[in-house]
């Protein structure tokens, strides 16, 4: 599903150039649940941003579902993001003045789906994350865990190839974190490819494979025995 070869990225800050990614080689097959770990500054967020087409690499190749992602125009980038990717953020990033349902329906709006169909589909995904009865609530009327579940429903709405989660449990307490991870595991069980960036060990062990980054290089890439989140709630 994802093939990355020799990925380099550096940021210029004034006169200094900060080499963040120093040659990453990394493949993800369909249906995998991978966690990317590393201390802050290891380059894990940068890697995720490149994977999410929110940022572009300086060097190396990135192939997503057979499509080479290189020198995308703004327009094309937007199209691919919508089609291939679903984002889950640490701070949820829901649009504050839109109801849960409208938030979930937003990617479908950008796909050009008609309103009725869009709302039905969004409702189905809200049901999937167990928030159907909260559909007309605004984000600030929801708890952190509920917000993240709305965000997950939104990420799923456009039926993307890959879900990218950037510290999805970073802003949640342990119990809520496990609930969210349980949801992510269930989605993965259905066969969807998911990448999770985290720095928490317990969260990482709830995935099937841990990729460890340090100073812009992968130092460890090992499959792990998945811990079911539900058992720990």
């Amino acid at each position: 599903m994802i093939q990355i070869t020799n990925l380099h990225k550096s940021y210029k800050t004034g006169a200094n150039s900060l080499h963040v990614l120093k040659g990453i080689n990394f493949n993800v097959a369909e249906g995998e649940l991978v966690s990317i770990m590393g201390s802050s500054g290891s380059g894990k967020s940068t890697l995720l941003n490149i994977l999410g087409m929110l940022d572009e690499a300086d060097e190396g190749s990135y192939v997503l579902d057979g499509v080479t992602i290189k020198n995308l125009s703004e327009k094309q980038g937007a199209k691919y993001r919508n089609k291939f990717l679903g984002f889950i953020f640490q701070s949820f990033n829901l649009i504050s003045y839109k109801s849960a349902l409208d938030n979930v329906a937003l990617p479908l709006y950008y796909q050009g789906m008609a309103r009725g169909e869009r709302m039905d589909r969004a409702m189905a995904y809200l049901e999937k994350v167990g928030l159907a009865q909260w559909s007309d609530h605004l984000p600030n009327q929801l708890s952190g865990g509920q917000k993240q579940r709305v965000a997950i429903a939104r990420a799923l709405a456009s039926d993307p190839k890959v879900l990218l989660a950037d510290e999805p449990t970073g802003a949640l307490d342990t119990k809520t974190s496990y609930e969210v991870m349980d949801l992510i595991q269930k989605i993965n069980d259905e066969g969807r490819t998911i990448l999770v960036v985290t720095h928490e060990n317990d969260i990482a062990h709830m995935t099937k494979r841990i990729v460890n980054l340090k100073d812009g290089l992968i130092i460890e890439d090992t499959p792990v025995q998945q811990v079911r989140a539900l058992e720990n709630v």
Binding site: D55, E74, N82, N93, L94, Y97, K98, Y109, Y110, S158
Partner: protein
């Protein structure tokens, strides 16, 4: 523009951001409101002043001499110019085709009038019968002077209402005899003047009588001339100006006055004054336009300012939308569509409010110099359109920049 989904999206945004929308709208609406009111008042001033002049309807040209201030053909400055009957008669002959009512005026050396035991001092003029029309005098009782009086050098006098009250009290003045500097005159009329008390403390006698009785010779103090009125205002002014300049050069030539000597001869052209008033009004209107345009510019700056704030405030939202697959154009479209919609609605609201105000309050305004303030509807509509377009252009750049922000940077924005 006709994308229903987009409208949906915009109405939702507006509904959920009432204060922001209200403030944007307020700045636009007040800008338009102020502009239209200013334009209306400008038009009202023009109407008001036109009406003032219409009431008087005077195309009067008033000539009186002064003292020369320039040496000319060997004559020293400081010479007192004295107009003569001859001047007046020559002018009448020369311009018979254009002149309407005219009168030369001989001013009596003293205006002392005695009736019985009562004495008063007043302005006293020897005039032609046309003087009544020229000064807009109406008679309370009796008659005005006529040509017969002039031909016979009749010792008759028409007195102002003030004099009648001073000297005759409740008595009827007509047919009574008064003494003017010792010479007996018969009162034939009492007049009232729209000019009020001051204009009513004067009396008039036939100019011929005055000149012969009081030793004026052929002297006259001033001349009142009117020319035949042309219906078209511009032509009337042009005629009047042409006549005035003809008159000026004629009199200056006769009295050996330097052509550029402005203090030796005064010619006051009412129509020209009116024209000057119109010019002034146009200047005022121009000024109002200037103020109005500045208001609009302030409005546009206000709108773009608010747009900048909106974009700034929505940076994160824009980042989210882009991460979810919004294309740059749809971001620009969304922001512009909203701003154009809001400015248009607000602009028309301001327009309608100001038009309603002008429509209902305007006719009630009856001050001397403002009358029926109103505004050209097409001009007002155009201003709204200009404001909306300017607002959109001003809003475009922040929107464009926002659309180009990388989602990753926008998402980092807390």
């Amino acid at each position: 523009m006709f994308d229903l989904e987009r409208w949906d999206e915009i109405f939702e945004t507006i509904r959920k951001n009432k204060l922001r929308t209200f403030l944007t709208g307020l700045s636009v609406a007040s800008g338009i409101f102020i502009l239209v009111i200013l334009l209306g008042v400008g038009e009202g001033m023009k109407n008001g002043i036109s009406r003032e002049f219409e009431q008087d309807a005077a195309n009067l040209i008033f000539v009186f001499p002064g003292v020369t201030s320039k040496e000319y053909r060997g004559l020293n400055p400081g010479r007192i110019i004295q107009l003569k009957n001859d001047d007046y008669n020559k002018i009448l002959l020369k311009h018979a085709d254009v002149l309407d009512a005219t009168s030369a005026v001989y001013q009596l050396p003293s205006g002392e009038m005695v009736y019985g035991k009562e004495t008063g001092s007043y302005r006293a003029d020897g005039v032609f019968p046309a003087f009544q029309k020229l000064e807009n005098i109406s008679l309370v009782s009796g008659r005005f002077l006529n040509m017969n009086d002039l031909e016979e050098n009749a010792k008759v006098v028409v007195i102002g209402n003030r004099i009648k009250l001073d000297l005759f009290k409740d008595e009827d003045a007509i047919g009574k005899y008064v003494k003017i500097q010792g010479v007996t005159f018969k009162v034939v009329g009492v007049f009232t003047d729209p000019g009020g008390e001051r204009e009513e403390s004067r009396f008039t006698v036939p100019i011929t009588t005055a000149q012969t009785t009081y030793g004026g010779g052929g002297d006259i103090a001033r001349m009142y001339l009117t020319i035949k009125q042309n219906d078209d205002f511009e032509t009337a002014v042009a005629d009047s100006q042409f006549f005035t300049s003809e008159l000026e050069s004629f009199l200056k030539e006769r009295h050996t006055i330097a052509p550029d000597d402005n203090s030796a001869l005064h010619i006051n052209n009412t129509l020209e004054n009116m024209m000057r008033f119109y010019t002034l009004i146009n200047m005022i209107k121009l000024f109002f336009w200037g103020v109005g345009i500045c208001t609009i510019i302030a409005g546009v700056v206000g709108v773009s300012n608010i747009m900048l704030i909106i974009v700034k405030e929505r940076t994160r939202e824009i980042g989210i939308r882009k991460a979810l697959g919004a294309q740059p154009l749809s971001i620009i479209g969304m922001i512009l569509h909203e701003s154009i919609f809001v400015t248009a609605i607000a602009g028309f609201t301001g327009l309608i409010l100001s038009l309603v105000l002008l429509e209902f309050v305007g006719p009630a305004i009856e001050t001397p110099y403002i009358y029926n303030p109103s505004v050209n509807f097409a001009v007002a509509i155009n201003t709204v359109i200009i404001l909306v377009v300017a607002g959109a252009v001003a809003g475009f750049f922040p929107a464009w920049r926002a659309a180009r922000i990388k989602p990753i940077i926008a998402l980092r924005d807390e």
